[in-house]
């Protein structure tokens, strides 16, 4: 199985957390800028991942049987 470097689940969770953080009170400006930057970076990656959306289909049994 090819290794996926970018983990969508993790990225999405982080985006949600950042979004939630921004809903809080007493926001520190430095932290806000950092989080915003990180959030935008992750959003861009997630959008990119959602774009390349073709499903890939592979049959195991055939490959497996050939090896026999």
């Amino acid at each position: 199985m090819p290794e996926e470097k970018f983990n969508f689940t993790k990225a999405y969770k982080e985006i949600e957390e950042i979004n939630e953080w921004f809903q809080g009170e007493d926001i520190d400006l430095d932290e806000a800028l950092k989080k915003y930057e990180k959030g935008m970076e992750l959003i861009a990656k997630c959008k990119e991942r959602l774009k390349e959306a073709e499903n890939k289909f592979e049959e195991i049994k055939k490959k497996y049987s050939i090896g026999e």
Binding site: M1, E4, F8, T9, Y12, K13, I15, E16, I18, N19, F22, Q23, I27, L29, A32, L33, Y36, G39, M40, I43, C46, K47, R49, L50, E52, A53, E54, N55, K56, F57, E58, E59, I60, K61, Y64, E68
Partner: protein, 451 residues
């Protein structure tokens, strides 16, 4: 594995002569790899031993198949087999050399008839439930965004594969399809193999989807077996089932980490979070920008507020300090003024008194001086005068002396306390009195008092 395919016995080329044993070995080599399903009725004669059983499988025409089964194979059924039962046996034929007879090695038994299958289902369900296989705590979590999916289903049949694939959205899924039968006597083994294969070879898959279309009790049999429950439970990869239609709950559904009702439903559930993400991510993107702008604004407002607040505070503070200083000055001035006034007053008083005293002293000095001068001047005159006065006084004194009176014959009478008696009425009869004469004295007792 080549399953249930027709036998292809090679023609014997040479005229080979077998010993009996060799011949049975030759036959068994052909027979044993075969997996077949045989249906029949269990005969009257059953030999049950603690670890295994022998029974005959009968056909209507009187054909008999001798069967050998391990006890554990019967136990997985949940129900004991009895003579007269119609069953299917799955296994392989083998010739027992010491008896010269064909024996069927039973690997699995399938019960027949909806009634008995339902009973079996209930019994197994109870048993496995008691063993904790269906408890929610042991279910493995399904990742929120599944990307790599192991798919276990049949290519043919009621279109489970097609249904699943068509309803799976284009979210970049990677589907690894392992084809298995989903009904019939061989289905269970193939499904168990598939689950095992994925766990061995692709342990990093996000999820396994075990799916098939709906069917009757008999066709769902593989999904109602103890073996499949144990295999799903043992899988390290979480498993989603999508078996049959909504009202068919199989044991596989009960043990699955997530149960969906159909292949379509399974696909939709896998889509769901991706679809949400596709909608949510642009929303969050806008949200973040708005939030950041808001943060800027809040901070800007805060800075302005703090700034003005600071000025007001400082001004107030300065005002207070100034007031304090002023009152301090005033206070000090007042005090000094008072001191000065007091001092002036004291000074004046002092001056006044000083002058008075000075005058007094001066006067006194003059008087003393005059007196002294006078005294010196008139010394002789004063002396004579004084001497004369003194002599006169001496004479006066002499004439007044009581002794002179005593000498003239007067007496003085005193009471016991020495007090001179001038009025006798204060005395008492018999009281002693002292009478002094010019020369000597007497003590007498009063006899009579006259006024």
């Amino acid at each position: 594995m080549k399953i249930n395919q027709s036998l292809e016995v090679e023609p014997i080329i040479e005229e080979k002569v077998f010993s009996v044993s060799e011949f049975f070995d030759f036959l068994n080599e052909i027979l044993v790899p075969q997996r077949v399903i045989v249906q029949g009725e269990i005969g009257e004669k059953m030999n049950n031993y603690p670890r295994y059983s022998f029974f005959n499988l009968l056909d209507k025409d009187g054909s008999i198949l001798k069967c050998f089964v391990w006890r554990e194979v019967i136990e997985t059924l949940g129900i004991d087999i009895e003579p007269g039962m119609e069953i299917r046996v799955i296994g392989y034929p083998e010739i027992r050399k010491n008896r010269g007879e064909l024996n069927f090695q039973v690997e699995r038994i399938e019960l027949l008839g909806e009634g008995i299958l339902k009973r079996q289902f209930e019994i197994l369900k109870k048993k496995l439930e008691a063993l904790g296989y269906f408890s929610p705590e042991i279910k493995k979590p399904i990742p929120k965004f599944c990307e790599n999916i192991g798919l276990i289903t049949s290519r043919v049949g009621r279109g489970a594969l097609k249904d699943f694939l068509t309803h799976l959205g284009n979210f970049g899924f990677r589907i690894f399809f392992y084809e298995t039968k989903v009904e019939g006597g061989f289905a269970l083994n193939e499904i168990l193999e598939a689950i095992n294969w994925f766990n061995q070879n692709m342990p990093k898959l996000d999820v396994l989807v075990l799916t098939r279309g709906g069917g009757d009790w008999e066709s769902l049999r593989p999904f109602n077996s103890e073996e499949i429950v144990k295999a799903i439970s043992a899988s390290k990869i979480p498993i989603i089932t999508g078996i049959g239609h909504e009202d068919d709950t199989t044991l596989a559904d009960l043990v699955a980490d997530l149960r969906t009702s159909t292949p379509t439903d399974a696909a939709k559930i896998l889509n769901k979070n991706w679809e949400l993400a596709k909608v949510n991510i642009p929303k969050i993107e806008i949200n973040l920008s708005t939030s950041l702008r808001k943060t800027f604004e809040i901070i800007k407002k805060k800075i302005i507020f703090y700034g003005s607040n600071l000025t007001v505070k400082v001004q107030k503070e300065i005002g207070l300090k100034q007031q304090g200083l002023k009152s301090l000055w005033k206070n000090l001035g007042l005090r000094f003024q008072n001191y000065f006034k007091e001092f002036e007053f004291l000074e004046k008083e002092f001056k006044k008194n000083y002058l008075k005293i000075k005058k007094l002293v001066k006067d006194q000095k003059i008087k003393i001086k005059e007196f002294l001068e006078d005294l010196i001047k008139n010394k002789n005159q004063w002396q004579g005068k004084i001497n004369k006065i003194l002599k006169q006084q001496e004479e006066k004194l002499f004439l007044c002396s009581p002794y002179l009176k005593l000498k003239q014959g007067y007496t003085i009478t005193k009471d016991e306390s020495g007090k001179i008696i001038k009025d006798p009425t204060r005395l008492k009869i018999s009281q002693e009195i002292l009478t002094k004469f010019y020369k000597g004295q007497i003590v007498s007792k009063i006899k009579k008092i006259e006024k």
